[in-house]
């Protein structure tokens, strides 16, 4: 026997297509918002995931990866001397002022680490070599940040404060959607960038003082200063860093090592790599409005879906009220009719879900490739969205079911 639900659905193809477009819109909205939220959460901690560290040592007042008061470099040496530590490297994160090749300025973050060290070896380098960071005033950037930095290829240059910065490598999947552009550099370069201020050069000419631009390219021949900057100074014990990343010796109990470090260095907090990622993700999700805004978007999508599907099912049931009344007059129980309406809702859910998912996956690939924005649609999320879509459609059917429940079978006798 033909499915009444399916046939009712396809009875009026244009209306069906309009309905499916509405459902697709709603499902896509929910999927994209959820995907962006998931991608955002994932991206805020992906650098930590890729660090390869067992433990992170930070200031006791550390909030998250990018909000952590500095600790002295001496902590690194102290950690290295501890039993159970295989090796440890510093990580310095600072905010700087980036000047693009076209002279526009923007805020960026410098991540200073040990090139060729034990950490951040899991990067996906699209171009260049990490080893090139040993050259002073060079950096690696995520390809998602190139637009912000106004750079295009290896060798392009900009300024950090009054110091030059040359792009020597391009990575992918290291940048968070929400943080600004990141410059991965050597610790020494990062230290120099952090210390650099804005230099205002003034000269006295004919008794008058003329001050030049604060930010200028020292390599520019028209610039007031044509001499290249001297190499960065070696870092000292007093230099500030943000974290000490460490790898424990094989079979070392991490909890024990954590307690040992915290006992020896009372001004520090020690967390595992997973905890660090969770702290950072949780910060962005709960302590900023981003999670709420994206969640709200998904909720709006859900509500839109409920409204669209409700209207379509209600209209469909209203159109076939006499036929449903006929079934009731024959003696069909209400459940027979509920099943028809529910099946219709399920068809709408599935037929709305499938193209939406294809659309969202395509959109996700496009945004990742062109904007570096991660719309993360995992199988679990795809399954969850299917569940939400089914709940949305079947829930919407309740209005139609309520309508048909109150149909007086005597309606069938009205011509």
């Amino acid at each position: 026997m033909a499915s009444i639900a399916r046939k009712n659905l396809f009875e009026d193809v244009p209306r069906f297509l309009v309905a499916q477009a509405g459902i697709m819109f709603a499902v896509s909205l929910v999927t994209i918002q959820t995907g962006i939220l998931n991608g955002f959460v994932q991206s805020t901690g992906q650098l930590i995931d890729q660090s390869g560290a067992d433990l992170w040592v930070s200031s006791k007042r550390m909030q998250q990866l990018e909000v952590s008061p500095p600790i002295p470099l001496q902590r690194l040496l102290q950690v290295r001397e501890m039993e159970g530590v295989a090796y440890a490297d510093p990580l310095a994160i600072r905010q700087v002022l980036w000047q693009t090749p076209k002279g526009q300025t923007t805020v960026a973050r410098v991540y200073g680490f040990q090139p060729g060290g034990a950490f951040f070896t899991q990067w996906q380098l699209v171009a260049g070599e990490v080893g090139d960071l040993k050259t002073p005033y060079t950096f690696i950037a995520d390809r998602a940040n190139l637009n912000t930095l106004d750079l295009h290829e290896i060798g392009d240059r900009g300024l950090v404060g009054s110091l030059p910065a040359r792009l020597v490598g391009i990575t992918k999947n290291t940048s968070s959607i929400v943080s600004g552009a990141i410059l991965f550099t050597s610790l020494e370069t990062a230290s120099a960038y952090t210390k650099t201020g804005t230099t205002i050069r003034c000269r006295i000419r004919a008794g008058a003082t003329e001050c030049l631009t604060a930010l200028e390219d020292p390599y520019n021949q028209n610039s007031a200063s044509s001499t290249p900057p001297k190499a960065p100074e070696p870092i000292s014990l007093a230099d500030p860093i943000s974290f000490v990343l460490l790898k424990a010796k094989p079979d070392q109990n991490l909890e024990q090592l954590r307690q040992q470090i915290e006992a020896a260095l009372p001004d520090t907090r020690v967390v595992t790599n997973a905890e660090m990622a969770e702290i950072t993700r949780s910060f962005w999700l709960r302590r900023t409005g981003v999670g709420f805004v994206l969640g709200l978007g998904a909720a709006v999508g859900f509500i839109v879906g409920v409204v669209v599907v409700s209207q379509i099912l209600y209209a469909s049931v209203s159109d076939h009220l006499r036929e449903f009344g006929t079934l009731k007059a024959m003696g069909a129980s209400d459940w027979v009719i509920y099943r028809v309406i529910t099946e219709q809702a399920l068809w709408m859910a599935v037929l709305g879900y499938l193209p939406s998912m294809v659309l969202c996956l395509g959109l996700g690939s496009w945004t990742m490739a062109t904007k570096g924005i991660l719309i993360l649609i995992t199988p679990a999320i795809a399954g969850g969205i299917l569940g939400i879509t089914i709940v949305m459609c079947v829930g919407s059917a309740l209005f139609a079911i309520q309508k048909v429940t109150h149909v007086d079978p005597a309606i069938v006798f009205k011509a």
Binding site: E323, M330, G331, A332, P409
Partner: protein, 253 residues
């Protein structure tokens, strides 16, 4: 054809129909429909409005019974009550020997499922389903299991109404007469004892109307079904065994 006002003696109907004296039992077995003192009053507006007033009626098994009368006389309301779709505000209705006025909504639905087939003026076919599928839906509702079995029975029923060759057509591709014949085939699903038809020829032209009338008569005579038809159509008078006139909610002789 016998033109009669069917008003039984009050002694038989005073709540004693279900009793089992030999006389009453014999009477009960010969009747498909018995209505006793049926009233229907609506509480709409300032004053109650009585649509039916003290209707007493019996219809013999195998008869084609017409229920005629002017618009607003209460014919369709009486049909709804006799078909177990509406419950009267007073009185009793017995179908195939069972009192239906005391049944719950679910009991009534189950009773209709087994015993009553309906035909409507507006056909009420699912427009998205073919002729055969419309019949199959009814068969499924009536509890016939198996896709093949339902398809086979649907074809047989459509053959009975002379529409086997149109079984794959949608209602929009059928004429009014053909649609009504599909509706009749659907009403026959589950082999009900009683067919109740509301103005079955009102939307049909003369030729289609006659075909439907003849079909309904055959259904009654060949299979021993009782057919109750509400109609304005004088063409149906010749097909009827009995005719009851209703006016102002009362039966008139």
């Amino acid at each position: 054809m016998t033109l009669s006002q069917t008003r039984p003696t009050q002694s038989i109907f005073n709540g004693s129909y279900a009793a089992s004296t030999p006389l009453i039992s014999s009477f009960r077995n010969s009747m498909a429909v018995v209505a006793s003192g049926v009233e229907m009053v609506y509480d709409s507006g300032a004053e109650p409005y009585a649509v039916l007033r003290g209707i007493d009626l019996e219809i013999q098994k195998g008869d084609v019974q017409l229920l005629m009368g002017p618009s607003g006389s209460g014919k369709t309301t009486l049909l709804s009550i006799l078909g177990g779709i509406l419950t009267p505000t007073a009185g009793k209705v017995f179908l195939m020997g069972q009192e239906i006025t005391g049944m719950t909504r679910n009991q009534l639905a189950k009773f209709r499922l087994k015993n009553v087939g309906f035909i409507f003026q507006g056909f009420n076919l699912f427009p998205a389903l073919t002729a055969a599928e419309n019949v199959e839906v009814a068969l499924k509702v009536k509890g016939l299991r198996g896709l093949q079995a339902r398809r086979q029975v649907a074809i047989e029923l459509l053959e009975q109404v002379g529409l086997a060759d149109r079984m794959h057509h949608l209602p929009k591709d059928l004429s009014g007469g053909q649609k009504q014949r599909v509706a009749i085939a659907r009403a026959l699903a589950g082999d009900p004892h009683i067919i109740m038809a509301d103005e079955p020829t009102a939307s049909l032209d003369s030729q289609s109307g006659h075909a439907v009338i003849e079909l309904l008569r055959q259904l009654a005579k060949n299979a021993g079904r009782t057919v109750l038809i509400v109609t304005h159509d004088p063409r149906l008078v010749d097909a009827a065994d009995r005719i009851t006139y209703l006016e102002d909610g009362m039966i008139h002789g």
